[in-house]
């Protein structure tokens, strides 16, 4: 029943405006309309009036005009029944309240009623600049404005401690029956002040405006919004300032009115009493008004409701953690314990769970820890990661799961190879000596998944099993999931979707390059497949991976679509007009420079060669990889040369318009080996006999002259195919 809330807030707003008007009237009578009115140390006059009304209130005359607007905005209280819509009017009443409380507090400064010692009062621009930037750039996850006092001192302490742990700035205002939270905390010897992130604003409700008009200045200072750009200023608050109100005790009309103001700024309100809730989102990011009567849950509820993303600055493990350690190996002589590989079974699985079933940061180790086995021995391992998030989807499971590899690798003295059920992890003696234990795998994953995927992961819990029977059980479950996922990805074809994803990540050095990632053609760097592109878009909707609807098909064989052309044209700075997904000879995809492999035409053989980045030698094209790369890269369409990801070689759509797989006449041995299994499967599908052995490598030749006799000898299919151009 939010009509109760609407009515209360509107009544409250009337009362605030009346108080402000009366105070203003009295002050004008005592002084004059030309009497200066200001908050200390701000260039934004009365910040709310400045941002929302575009008014520079400098004196009481100006104040009168601002109050006239606040009065104008006041709607009537909704009727008992057959009421007219009240959300819009209630939000307007909230704005009136913001203006009125700001006026009330400004007049106090004028009358010399300064905040008591220890109460902050108005927050200066200086503090705004030093702390506010952290608030809007995400270093400080958000702020809590606490109204009233907690039912007990113990709860007061518990709540602020929980908020402090998450680096959330806490403002205190208002009182319940004369008791303030400040008093409660002081009695419990909790240190207050900016340094401890607990800032008492004042003992009454009007002081709450100091937190709000401080935040509002963020939109003007950091958001670059101009005065009077009220929509932008308010939406900036919703999108950038993760603040919420926490109300202890009865929610009075006046508190509701302040709440309506906060909700206008996108700040949700959580109360510990039995208030009617407003759950639909839109004005706020998630629920607008929520009750939480369980003090154990009240802080997590606040965080979840506002969507505050708590960042973990440092991974809490006893060894160093950095990307630099990713490539580090743990040799046998250094080995403390290993999981997987030849010694034991090991697997990892990441699953999505509902928000209610995941306890953020919970790490459980079931079974012996790594210091219980002698050095050099193995333990079975199953890592089960459960992720919950409002925007989490099952489609993201494999993407996040694949992150486990490089996340764990970042720990010094820990090596992680492979994925899924072929995981092989080693922990070095040094790491063990420094205190690295099983739970730290969980700590790493919890911290880094939240940090790297803030848009989709809200809560992460990790369970680590080191008993054989548990690991086997999880493995069976994992294999079921893997199979389901494979079916999902493998079943996907370019035809089965109507949207591809772009990647323009590399435009910083190849400004005209646009990657189009389809289910059957992953990005040329090999790092992004279609699902990754989709996930990346979800994670950052304005980022380099954008959905591209195919639109009308222009050419099925070459893979050309109307909208894809349009997109590529626009995003390549109008340099690339047409693009064929399945041809390297006609309007091929551009290449940035990150390609795993280069496909190049070998005209003499009526076929193509593929060389991977790791191969240093000469190739039948007469150029090594490095020279070929300069021809292929740079965002130009170069028919006959194509940068590709390794996986694409065995795709059904691999240069399918030019003859496909059967065109391959040469590859370095190592590349051949790497993709052997898939290559043979694909060749079999195409009815190519013994194709693997018909592809030459550097052990056969590294020039075109010697290549032809070999191809003739083995009867390579390319020789009898139609000419490539």
């Amino acid at each position: 029943m939010s009509k109760i809330v609407a009515s209360a807030a509107i009544r409250g707003a009337h009362s605030w405006v009346e108080e402000a008007e009366a105070a203003l009237k009295q002050t004008i009578e005592e002084k004059s309309e030309s009497q200066k009115l200001e908050f200390p140390e701000t260039a934004f006059f009365l910040p709310m009036a400045y941002a929302l009304l575009g008014m520079e209130v400098k004196d009481l005359g100006g104040a009168k005009k601002a109050m006239a607007r606040a009065r104008e905005l006041l709607p009537p209280v909704p009727s008992e029944n057959v009421w007219l819509p009240y959300l819009g009017p209630t939000l307007d009443a909230g704005i009136s309240t913001l203006l009125a409380t700001e006026m009330i507090t400004a007049l106090r400064y004028l009358r010399g009623e300064l905040p008591a010692a220890g109460d902050q009062g108005f927050i200066s621009d200086t503090i705004l600049r030093s702390l506010g930037i952290q608030l809007v750039d995400g270093r400080m996850p958000g702020f809590a404005a606490i109204l009233g006092s907690a039912p007990t001192n113990e709860i007061a302490v518990k709540v602020v401690r929980e908020l402090q742990q998450r680096n959330i700035l806490i403002f205190l205002c208002d009182h319940n029956n004369g008791t303030t939270m400040r008093q409660q905390l002081e009695q419990e010897k909790v240190e207050l002040g900016w340094d401890t992130y607990i800032v008492p604003l004042g003992p009454d409700l009007a002081s709450g405006i100091y937190a709000l008009n401080w935040a509002m200045r963020g939109a003007l200072t950091f958001g670059g919004h101009k005065r009077g750009e009220f929509v932008k200023c308010l939406e900036y608050q919703r999108d950038r300032v993760f603040a919420f109100g926490l109300v202890f005790g009865e929610v009075t009309d006046r508190r509701y009115a302040v709440g309506a103001g906060a909700i206008n700024m996108g700040f949700c309100v959580i109360a510990d009493t039995n208030i009617p809730e407003i759950r639909p989102s839109g004005v706020t990011l998630f629920e607008a008004l929520v009750r939480e009567r369980d003090y154990e849950k009240i802080v997590p509820t606040c965080i979840q409701t506002r969507g505050v993303k708590v960042k973990i600055e440092k991974v809490p493990i006893p060894v160093s953690y950095a990307a630099a350690f990713e490539g580090e190996r743990v040799r046998k002589e250094q080995l403390a314990v290993e999981f997987g590989g030849k010694g034991s079974l090991a697997c990892e699985l990441l699953k999505m769970k509902p928000l209610s079933e995941v306890e953020d940061g919970k790490i459980t180790v079931i079974g012996p820890d790594l210091d219980t086995v002698p050095d050099g021995k193995s333990l079975p391992l199953a890592i089960m990661v459960e992720v919950a998030g409002r925007k989490m989807q099952t489609d993201f499971e494999p993407i996040l799961e694949r992150q486990i590899h490089h996340l764990i690798n970042g720990a010094m003295g820990v090596m992680h190879v492979g994925q899924r059920d072929i995981v092989w992890i080693r922990v070095s003696k040094d790491a063990k000596a420094k205190g690295f234990r099983m739970r730290h795998f969980g700590d790493i994953l919890h911290a880094k998944l939240l940090q790297n995927f803030p848009a989709i992961a809200d809560k992460v819990q990790v369970t680590i099993y080191t008993k054989k029977e548990d690991a086997e059980r999880i493995l069976a479950e994992a294999r079921k999931s893997y199979a389901e996922r494979d079916a999902r990805v493998a079943g996907m074809t370019d035809e089965s979707v109507d949207t591809f994803y772009s990647c323009t990540l590399c435009q910083s050095f190849a400004p005209t390059h646009v990657c189009i990632i389809s289910p059957e053609r992953l990005g040329l760097c090999g790092a992004y497949n279609w699902l990754d592109g989709k996930a990346a878009f979800e994670i950052n909707p304005t980022g380099p991976n954008q959905p591209v609807e195919k639109g009308e098909t222009i050419d099925t064989v070459k893979g050309q679509w109307e909208n894809v052309n349009k997109f590529v044209y626009a995003k390549s700075g109008k340099k690339v007009e047409r693009f064929n997904a399945y041809s390297m000879m006609e309007d091929p995809m551009t290449s940035c420079g990150c390609f795993e492999c280069i496909v190049a035409i070998v005209p003499e053989a009526n076929g193509i060669m593929i060389v991977n980045r790791e191969y240093p030698g000469m190739t039948p094209s007469g150029m090594p990889f490095s020279t070929l790369a300069s021809t292929t890269g740079g965002g130009l369409q170069t028919p006959g040369f194509l940068g590709v990801g390794k996986l694409y070689i065995t795709s059904k759509k691999f240069i399918s318009a030019d003859g496909g797989l059967a065109r391959i006449v040469w590859m370095p041995k190592q590349l051949k080996e790497t993709i052997r299994e898939r290559l043979e499967t694909r060749a079999k599908e195409l009815g190519l006999d013994d194709f693997y052995n018909k592809i030459a490598d550097e052990t056969v030749c590294d020039n075109a002259a010697d290549l032809l006799p070999f191809l003739e000898k083995v009867g390579h299919p390319a020789l009898t195919m139609p000419p490539m151009f």
């Binding site: 029943m1 029944n81 959300l87 819009g88 939000l91 009220f230 308010l234 839109g282 209610s356």
Partner: protein, 653 residues
């Protein structure tokens, strides 16, 4: 007697009509039964004097008309002609409004003004008219003139169609259904159905769609916008509906028809002290002006005037014996009114040269003398009050409270206030799974269905499934009468997600958005939903649908065609008379989906129709990968059990 209506007031008046020995549309309709089977199937061709020709639907007799036209051609031409008639009615209404605004701007009308200057400026800017002068009258003249030009435009594209999302426009251009001029497409349509013209059913249907798009995105849209400019954009307003709004001791004037130019003036004049005094002098307490049909909707949304009833209640209003005058203008005026009015003291007054009824009093309405004419009419009504025969008066008690007057523009305010006006909470509601989607329930009444039953049953079924309803026309009239627009009472019919949204915003679950020309508001609201984002980049991707569950007029044919062509799948009942041609039926109910992203659903049972629409919304939701619905539908659960379930639902899940 067979079941006539689910509306008690209607049933009571039918009973009274029987006692008073008055014949109404209900009986006249019975006397037409059995309806001609050929006509019902659409296989009867009367396009030339070689005819009427008809095709044997059982395949035994003639399969071609005398000229050789196939059954597909006959059926398509009949529908196309119906569409042309409907489109011309709406569009002519739009033209009259534009003309009135133009004359007002030139200072040639009496008593009219330009009320919504803000909208005038917005539209002027949209039309590329220089607004820097700030001269309201000059701007109004230019805007009205620009609109009038759209009717006769010969080349290019109708200005207001440009509002459609890009994809929609591209589709229209590709299919060559983008209208060049509003009248031009209607005339071309009529030309094409002449004997010896178009025989390709698909070509005929596509051109009918072109004429319909010219109506929905042209004539009707112009009518809506200019009416808002001239008479004020509606805002939510409280009122009452059903025959019970007629006063026992007041002079009762019922205005019926469509165009607000006359009715607005009647309301204004009737509320003047001069007329009130005259009424008192004649022994009445006051003057009540109540509306029927779309006129009711117009004066309801702008003036809060009560709604007396919908299309099938027009004669029944007179049967109360308490109506001093029924004033009619255009469209959906039953000639039968003049068989009913003489049975009582009611004066039937026609006002349009386009609608003369033998025996009725005619006051030709002229905008130059609008006030004078309105005064004459109201005076005539008041003076008729003493002739009311108290013994024959019986006013039903039924009247329901309601809130009406939502528009594409004012929804912004109601969802975000003055400082954060937005459609976001609506889109979010859909994205989060509180709302399954939005469905427009529109259209007429039809004696072939039980009066109001389909509207009501269909709507209630959707409300249970968390579907927000927007409504216009006589459907709105029905839903008003049955309490679905009461912001408090109607909540009992809603699923929990819908209820949460309604409670948060303070709206009824059924939003009244106007008269039948105001279906254009549904189109513009869809544009805003697309713009807000997250639920599709084209109207055809939105989880929305339409329904005309008791369609009757040819305007409904045109509406149906332009709504589907706009990408909104639409339920239509009784079905188009196309069942004689498999191809035409298949095009409308299947193939149109490929061309326009939407199709018709012909289904007689309103519950089944609702299920089909729900399945359609779910399909759209799935395609958009939206979250599953937050709450199960309201299926006769007890409040308590449902509340428990609601309490168990965790935030965000």
């Amino acid at each position: 007697m067979k079941e006539r209506s689910v509306d008690k007031a209607t049933l009571q008046m039918l009973e009274k009509a029987k006692c008073d020995n008055v014949c109404t549309a209900f009986e006249r309709s019975d006397m037409q039964d059995p309806r001609c089977g050929f006509g019902e199937l659409g296989v009867c061709c009367q396009q030339c004097y070689m005819g009427p020709c008809r095709v044997d639907p059982f395949g035994k007799g003639a399969q071609y008309g005398a000229c050789g036209i196939s059954v597909d051609g006959i059926v398509a031409r009949n529908i196309a002609r119906a569409c042309a008639v409907g489109a011309s009615a709406h569009s002519d209404h739009g033209r009259d409004i534009a003309h009135n605004l133009y004359m007002t701007a030139l200072g040639k009308t009496q008593g009219y003004s330009i009320v919504d200057e803000r909208k005038l400026f917005v539209i002027a800017e949209e039309f590329g008219i220089d607004t820097s002068s700030g001269d309201t009258k000059k701007l109004a003249a230019e805007v009205a003139h620009k609109c009038l030009e759209q009717f006769g435009q010969q080349e290019g594209e109708v200005l207001t169609t440009q509002r459609a999302p890009e994809k929609q426009k591209e589709r229209w251009r590709k299919l060559k259904v983008m209208p060049r001029g509003i009248d031009r497409e209607i005339v071309e349509m009529l030309h094409m159905v002449h004997v010896g013209m178009d025989a390709d059913y698909k070509n005929t249907l596509l051109h009918a769609i072109k004429a319909a798009v010219g109506d929905g995105w042209g004539g009707s849209m112009i009518a809506t916008d200019l009416t808002d400019i001239q008479f004020g954009s509606p805002n939510p307003v409280r009122s009452k509906a059903n025959l019970g709004v007629l006063g026992e001791n007041t002079v009762n004037i019922v205005v019926h028809g469509h165009e607000p130019t006359l009715s607005e003036m009647i309301v204004k004049v009737a509320r003047s002290p001069e007329m009130k005094a005259l009424a008192k002098q004649k022994g009445a307490e006051d003057v009540t002006v109540a509306g029927i049909c779309c006129t009711a909707n117009e004066i309801l949304m702008r003036q809060g005037a009560p709604l007396a009833g919908n299309y099938l209640q027009q004669e029944l209003a007179i049967v109360t014996g308490a109506v001093e005058a029924m004033i009619v203008d255009v469209q959906c005026i039953m000639p039968g009114l003049n068989q009913v009015a003489p049975c009582y003291h009611t004066k039937l007054i026609t006002t349009s040269k386009k609608v003369r009824i033998p025996g009725a009093i005619h006051y030709q309405f002229e905008e130059e003398r609008a006030v004078d004419i309105a005064k004459k009419i109201v005076t005539e009504a008041i003076e008729n009050y003493p002739k009311r025969d108290r013994k024959r008066v019986q006013i039903p008690a039924e009247s329901s409270e309601l809130v009406a007057g939502f528009t594409t523009e004012n929804v912004f305010y109601h969802l975000g206030g003055k400082f954060r006006p937005s459609y976001k909470p609506l889109n979010e509601g859909i994205i989060q799974g509180r709302l399954r989607g939005v469905v427009g329930v529109v259209g007429c009444n039809n004696t072939k269905t039980v009066h109001d039953y389909n509207h009501l049953t269909f709507t209630k079924e959707l409300l249970k499934h968390d579907v927000l309803i927007v409504t216009t026309g006589c459907s709105a009239g029905c839903l008003c009468k049955h309490g679905l627009l009461d912001s408090e009472d109607a909540l009992q019919y809603c699923g929990y997600g819908l209820r949460e949204i309604c409670e948060a915003v303070g709206i009824p679950p059924v939003l009244h958005v106007g008269s039948c020309v105001d279906n254009s508001r549904i189109l513009t609201a869809c544009i805003e939903m697309v713009k807000e984002g997250g639920i599709g980049t084209d109207i055809s991707q939105l989880p929305v649908a339409g329904s005309a569950p008791e369609a009757m007029s040819h305007k409904a044919t045109s509406i149906g065609l332009y709504v589907v062509a706009s990408g909104i799948t639409t339920h239509f009942n009784p079905p188009f008379q196309v069942h004689g041609s498999k191809k035409v039926l298949d095009y409308l109910s299947n193939e149109m989906e490929k061309d326009f992203g939407a199709n018709f659903i012909f289904e007689g049972d309103p519950k089944k129709a609702a299920q089909k629409i729900i399945a359609h919304l779910d399909k759209k939701r799935e395609a958009l990968k939206l979250k599953p619905m937050m709450y199960p539908p309201l299926n006769g659960e007890t409040e308590k059990a449902a509340a428990k379930k609601q309490a168990a639902a965790v935030a965000g899940n």
